[in-house]
Symmetry: C2
């Protein structure tokens, strides 16, 4: 491993310890060539191994230049690691040998040296775009954010649960689902027998399964893929996306849920900022120059009813007229965020008839609401959605009966028959989180392999 640890060193904020340094004095470095600059007396290479945005500068005798030493080629360089005379880097490698392990046909390679390709352009090459600086940075940030999410929950005593991907539940009854068959079933059509005996779907949320666990653990979370078969080409939707979901037992207040959302956001964002500052800087410099990371230093909390009033009094006209009882549309969310000063906005207590059966009845009137909360953020809209869950058996039974779902959810009612506790939770869209902190307009650019209608490349 030592052999390729060199670039990690370059990303250190201060020069390495002299003892370590001695070990690294005579070095092999492997990576991909980002630039070649041949001068009369010296050959400069920049190579990168993906461990950071920074390249390692290699200085060599021009005699070491070869025909296949081009942009995009993979090289192994052996030489001496020395303090660099340049201000921009700590160290450079004085090459003794340069070995091209994998050449690159630059004429057919879609990425070009030192060119800042637009995100739309590199999106066409899902198998090569990770070699682009911007996507490289994105993937490092995504990786750190993932680790940060696991640490946050781990440090706060949550038990991680792998909620199932394949489920016989149609969780919310809303939206199109993906159905699963074995490939041989898919070919034969009439009179299907199902592999699982029952129709099976890809999960739209791990919530109900987390609620199972919330009957034995007071804090649980899951972080995995979820699916929607929506035929949308929106810049905020994917058919396959990642969701962080948490469930807390023994809580009777939406405020507890909002606090966890906020803490999660702050902790993960601090981790990302401290672990890959240069990668984040790239986004804020070239992709979203207006973007600033708002570390939730201020936020705003309004009720759904207040939100509707604000919208009704807005000087602008909306395509969808704001009306109590109707869902907030993207244009409404945008206006509310602007109205509150471009800060994160918690909207609480939504109409009872608008929300799924599991949300807790506020028993209020005349406008009947449930204890739900959505978190809206600038540029992205809904980032998190959560609620207290209806833990009271009679309330849940009568609601499920009215919806004709009582038979399908006997197991869910069981959770309320045996040691039910007040509880609640939320989900955060991981890609939307990345869009928000980095200022990335299109959700397809914050996931390694985007899946959406009409597209499933590789």
């Amino acid at each position: 491993m030592l052999k390729f640890a060199i670039l990690l060193f370059l990303s250190l904020p201060c020069p390495p310890d002299p003892c370590c340094f001695a070990l690294l004095w005579w070095q092999n470095a492997g990576g991909w060539v980002r630039s070649v600059r041949s001068q009369k007396e010296v050959l400069f290479l920049h190579i990168n191994d993906g461990s950071s945005l920074e390249n390692l500068q290699v200085v060599a005798d021009p005699s070491l230049e070869k025909r296949d030493l081009t942009f995009g080629s993979a090289v192994e360089v052996q030489g001496k690691l020395v303090k660099s005379p340049h201000k921009m880097q700590n160290m450079e490698l004085q090459a003794e040998t340069i070995h091209v392990v994998g050449p690159c046909d630059i004429w057919s390679f879609p990425l070009k040296m030192k060119e800042r390709h637009p995100l739309e352009y590199v999106r066409q090459f899902p198998h090569l775009r990770c070699r682009n600086n911007t996507l490289g940075s994105l993937l490092r940030i995504r990786s750190e954010a993932t680790a940060g999410i696991h640490s946050f929950f781990q440090d706060n005593g949550y038990v991680h649960i792998h909620t199932p991907i394949i489920t016989s539940n149609d969780c919310e009854g809303a939206g199109e689902l993906f159905q699963i068959e074995t490939s041989s079933e898919a070919k034969e059509s009439a009179e299907k027998t199902h592999f699982f005996n029952v129709p099976a779907f890809l999960t739209v949320s791990g919530q109900l399964h987390l609620e199972v666990m919330a009957g034995a653990f007071t804090h649980v979370f899951t972080f995995g893929p979820t699916f929607r078969a929506e035929n949308s080409q929106s810049r905020r939707h994917l058919a396959e996306f990642y969701m962080v979901e948490a469930e807390l037992s023994f809580t009777e207040s939406l405020q507890d849920i909002m606090q966890v959302m906020e803490d999660l956001f702050k902790t993960v964002t601090s981790t990302v900022l401290s672990k890959c500052p240069r990668d984040v800087e790239l986004f804020h410099k070239y992709i979203a120059p207006a973007q600033k990371v708002i570390l939730f230093s201020s936020s705003c909390r309004i009720s759904y009813s207040e939100a509707v009033e604000i919208l009704k009094q807005a000087p602008q006209t909306f395509v969808f007229k704001p009306e109590w009882g109707c869902d907030l549309q993207t244009e409404h969310e945008k206006y509310l965020v602007k109205h509150c000063g471009e800060v994160p906005v918690f909207v609480v207590n939504y109409p009872y008839d608008l929300k799924p059966f599991y949300m807790r009845d506020n028993e209020d009137g005349p406008q009947h609401t449930v204890a739900a909360v959505d978190l809206l953020v600038p540029g992205v809209g809904e980032l998190c959605g959560g609620s207290l869950r209806e833990e009271r058996l009679p309330f849940l039974e009568s609601r499920l009966r009215r919806l004709g779902l009582i038979d399908a959810y006997q197991w869910y009612l069981d959770l309320r028959k045996f040691g039910s506790v007040p509880h609640g939770g939320f989900g955060m869209g991981f890609e939307r989180y990345l869009q928000y902190i980095l200022g990335v307009d299109n959700i397809k650019d914050v996931i390694p392999f985007p899946r959406f209608s009409h597209s499933c490349l590789l």
Copy 2:
């Protein structure tokens, strides 16, 4: 949060700091009742909140007993936390008030007080089995192992990649796949249009997608669900299971890959043993009394050819006759592990014709092999599988052409045209790992919601 932190304290190896302790002196504790013992002068409760296997002992005046204070009910107890006179526990709670927040109908509740239910029994109740001690311990261990896997790779400079769940690739061409359709497509049968325009499947491995990333990062890993539509009722197979996969660039030796497998195993197992010793102990005491965790203190390495020779000379007869060129069967794996002294066994260099197209040609003869490695472990069989990947364009092209796959894998060939590097990687079945360290016979008992043929509960 403080309110429910109390049980965390009980799981601390040493008594808490006096300052913290003072804070916790007057306490609310919420949890589920594990036992009720009413004596003439005192009422004993054991409550558990899932943070550890240990219960909190609550001591109360018998006047606080109520009819619905039963096994399985959820309670909130307010009282004084004091040092316990009993040796078995650090502290106990002297209750002032006991509030039953959620009663439990013990007559219809399938779990019974102080009964050690067999795993097969609790498996029938996927929505309630987490309230059983054994499953509670399993889920805590699974959670710690998950965190340990993320930390191991994070600490070793790996970039985490979310490889896609839905894919248009049929990675290995082997085994039955699950195919995906929107639920409306599934209903209409003839003349299908696909949501993604192409047939789409659930992934069987993230390897090819990790290889994409191994062209920009020298170390990458993924940890997520994978799927097989095998109609098997084996105790080692699931339709949905979790796999850890890693890919390393700039490596030319299988030894590097094996070293990472071993380091991963050792690090994660140490984490689990130090984070939840009591939970592991439960398994080794009641589930698999003969089980000892072998921390890879010794292992064995043989070639496939040697393995076949060992099998041929075995004094026992096999259902499948061992023959060079044939796959190793479960009975063969078992014998090899026994032959090597019940330690982990690496088997390397498998027949070329037995393995998928991407494995690296050893260019040997007369018995033509590829640089593949399987790790076999006692009781479980194959735990990990890996290989060096064929990074040489001409080798890969001719193999794909012979297999008639050349058109489908143009993108994969591209990875070898543009800066190809020697690389390799492996996958480890997460459930099999848990089976191995805990001595759990059936794979259905180490995953929260098992999916297999004829079964997809919840």
